[in-house]
Every structure is written in C-alpha cells, then in structure tokens.
C-alpha cells in the first residue's frame, strides 16, 4: 500500500539531505518507528531490503528440510503438527516478503534473486535432514536460535518489519516446543530412538550456533545495524544467550552437547569455537544441500508458471466479461 510514497519526485539538494538525515537519525534514536512513506537514507533502505529478503528466503528454503519428512512422520499427530509448522514458515516468508515490498522492491524481484542464487539465506538449511529426529532438533535448536534472533527484531526501527516480526514470533512459539517434545519423547524412548536424538543433536548443534552469524570482530554490518536499531544485540551476545538457554535443556534430555570445551563458569556456559571455515563454505554455496535446495525452489517456480499465468488470464477474462455485461 505504500509504494506510491516511494516516487521521489525531484532530487534533493545537499542541504535538504542533511536536514532530512538529521531528522531521521533523531527519530530512530528516540525509538520512533520509521514508516514506508517516511524519508530514509538509501543505505537504510538497502540494509533493510537485504536483511528482510534474506529472512524471507530463509523461511521459504527452510520449508524444504522439514517438508522432506512430512510424508514419513511416524504418527498422524506428528504429521499434522509438522505440516502446520512448515505451513507457518510459508506464512512467515509471505509476511516478510510483504514487509520488504513496502520498501519498493517486488516479491518477484526478490524471488528471482533467490532462484538465481544471488541472494543469501540462512546457511542452516543447506544441511540435510537424515532421520526423524532431525525434525525434533530443528524445532528445538534452529527455531530456538531463530526466536532468539527474532524477538529483538519485534522492536526494530522499521515499522512493517517490526510488525511482521511480532506476528511471526507469536506464531513461532509452538515451533520450538513441538521440536523439544519430539526430542523428549525420543530421548525417553527405545535405545535406537535415543541414539537418533543424540545423532541429530551432534549434527545440528554447531550449525545452530553459526545461525547467529560470524563473530562480532568479523561482522561487517553490526555497527550501522545497531545504530539504526535494526539489530539490538550483537551476534556474540545472542549466541551466548542461546547456549546458556540450550545447554540445560540438552542435559534435561540426557543428551551430550558435542563440544569438548563446554564448561560452566558460574554465570555462563563457555563454549568452543564453531568452525567458521565451514560456515563460509556453506554460505558461499558449498554446503551439502545448497544445489538441491535451490533446484527444488526453481522447480516449484518453473512448474507453477503456467498456473500463475492461467490465474491472471482468467481474472482478465472475467473482468472484461463484466465490463461487457
């Protein structure tokens, strides 16, 4: 609804620009929200488009690893819960694409960037789901990490993004719980089930820690993002919070966190260094499933083209018939 506000009629002079820029910074500093029709620096717009689009892509690609187990969920109750959960991810992707659209980019453009492989999405979804326990580990760890990242985004300075995040966080609270419930049942189940749960934790632990992004010292976008109140906590702060929350949960499950350096210092759980070369490799396209995930998205898009076109054609026919009538 906001796109008409984006036609910036005439170029601004330097004086206007610095006045607008000052006003913008003051507004953000005062915790006021920025809305689509408000003036904003190009860099702010670019930062948000990139972040929101990446976030949306992550939700959509994130449907694939778990969606993979919908057909094989071991009980009908689990099948229904998992379907509702994966469906929610589609909803979240949709809310986020819409939030990004208020910044003047279309969903089609963003989707094209994803399909062409030029847009990033969360590297975690380039890992394979190998057993049913992976659905538990993803809900527990991956959604747990996502929630930790997302709760502060509900207070993000950009109104449409913040509002989408409020809705997403509200909906997502069941995701982590259903994952933990799967893990609880498995870890209290047969020896094979318990082994399955441990194996899933072993494989998903480090990629989950990497979800918070590179260490603060190496992170390029932290400063500006914090100043503009898009981000509220640094990567390392959130990672520590996640570890502090999750380690006791793993102990409750009777599972072992696959980190020999893990120890409690009386205040925090001190943990080892994730393999950042793996992170970079997976992010830049060489994870175990990058090609598969993009191929699946491309296939869905291509196979659906005739359907989308037919729907448009039918709507046009209907409109022209109504005009005649």
């Amino acid at each position: 609804m906001y796109t008409q506000g984006l036609d910036q009629a005439e170029p601004l002079g330097d004086e206007d620009l610095s006045r607008l820029s000052e006003r913008f910074e003051a507004k953000v500093a005062a915790e006021d929200k920025v809305e689509p029709t408000d003036w904003m620096p190009d860099a702010y717009r670019t930062l948000l488009v990139r972040q929101i689009a990446q976030h949306a892509h992550s939700e959509i690609v994130g449907m694939l690893p778990e969606g993979n187990w919908l057909s094989r969920a071991p009980s009908l109750r689990r099948k229904g819960i998992l379907l509702a959960k994966v469906q929610d991810e589609a909803g979240h992707g949709l809310y986020l694409y819409c939030a990004a659209e208020t910044l003047g980019i279309s969903r089609d453009e963003m989707v094209e960037q994803l399909l062409a492989g030029t847009a990033k999405y969360s590297s975690i979804f380039n890992y394979p789901t190998l057993t049913w326990a992976d659905c538990g580990a993803i809900g527990w760890l991956v959604d747990g990490a996502a929630i930790m990242n997302q709760v502060p985004l509900c207070r993000c300075s950009y109104g449409p993004y913040a509002r989408a995040m409020v809705r997403i966080c509200r909906e997502e609270s069941f995701h982590q719980r259903q994952g933990f419930e799967i893990m609880t049942v498995l870890s209290q189940g047969t020896p094979e089930q318990k082994a399955m749960a441990q194996d899933a934790l072993d494989r998903w632990w480090w990629p989950s820690l990497m979800m918070f992004g590179p260490p603060d010292a190496q992170s390029t976008h932290n400063d500006r993002s914090m100043r503009w109140k898009v981000k509220r906590f640094t990567n390392d702060e959130l990672r520590q919070k996640f570890v502090d929350m999750t380690v006791p949960q793993a102990h409750f499950l009777g599972l072992t966190v696959p980190d020999p350096d893990l120890s409690y210092n009386g205040e925090h759980w001190v943990f080892g260094e994730p393999d950042w070369s793996e992170f970079k490799r997976v992010l830049s396209g060489d994870g175990p499933c990058n090609r598969e995930r993009l191929a699946a998205r491309n296939k869905a898009h291509d196979d659906g083209a005739w359907v989308r076109e037919a729907a448009v054609a039918h709507a046009e026919k209907k409109r022209s018939r109504e005009r005649v009538a």
Binding site: M1, Y2, T3, Q4, G5, E35, T37, D38, W39, Q87, D88, G91, L94, Y95, C98, E101, S106, R107, D108, R163, A164, R167, E171, A305, R308, E309, A311, V312, A313, H314, A315, E316, K318, R319
Partner: protein, 100 residues
C-alpha cells in the same frame, strides 16, 4: 488473443492489503498484505494466510493501489494541531461537582 505482456509480467499477481475484524464489535484492522489475481482469490488467500489461528470474524481486502495515503511531508501541517480545549482534561471541574 490479447497482445501478451512479457513472460515475467504475465504471472505477476497484484498486491492486496488485508484487514481483519478479530471479534464481533471491533473495527477491522490492517494485518498485512498478499498477492492475488482477483478479489475472490484475495479473500480466500486472506482467510488462509491471516486467520490460521482463528483470528478472524470478518475480512476486508483492498487493492494496494486503491489506498490513498497522506503525504509524510504534510505531517506537521496535517497533524500538528494543538487545540487542547478539545480534550476534557483542559477544563476545571469545581470540587464537589459530580456527573460532569
């Protein structure tokens, strides 16, 4: 056949804004947007996308292009009114007087 638009354009579904009345008696509130080819699809999609948890008792969908927004540059001249006498707190009610 009509002149066909470019392939990329042909499959673009217009944007709609969605408003939900969450309970009877409340006003419709903007909840987000979605894409749909026509009003019928927009209403159906709004139901599926925005009321998955029983949030809705009624839906409005509006083509995004039909919404007219105030200009943010007019903000001060539009909304900067300072007429305190329009608010009840502006007036002094003498002690002991009730029902006003």
């Amino acid at each position: 056949m009509n002149a066909s638009p470019e392939p990329g354009q042909r499959s673009t579904w217009p944007l709609w804004e969605v408003f939900v009345r969450s309970r009877s008696g409340l006003a419709h509130q903007h909840v987000g947007s979605l894409h749909a080819v026509d009003a019928e699809m927009a209403i159906a999609n709004a139901r599926d996308v925005y009321t998955r948890r029983g949030e809705g008792a009624s839906l409005w969908v509006v083509p995004a292009t039909s919404i007219v927004a105030s200009d943010p540059d007019d903000k001060e001249s539009f909304f900067g009114l300072d007429e305190e006498f329009r608010h009840p707190s502006h007036y002094v009610v003498p002690d002991g007087v009730v029902g006003i």
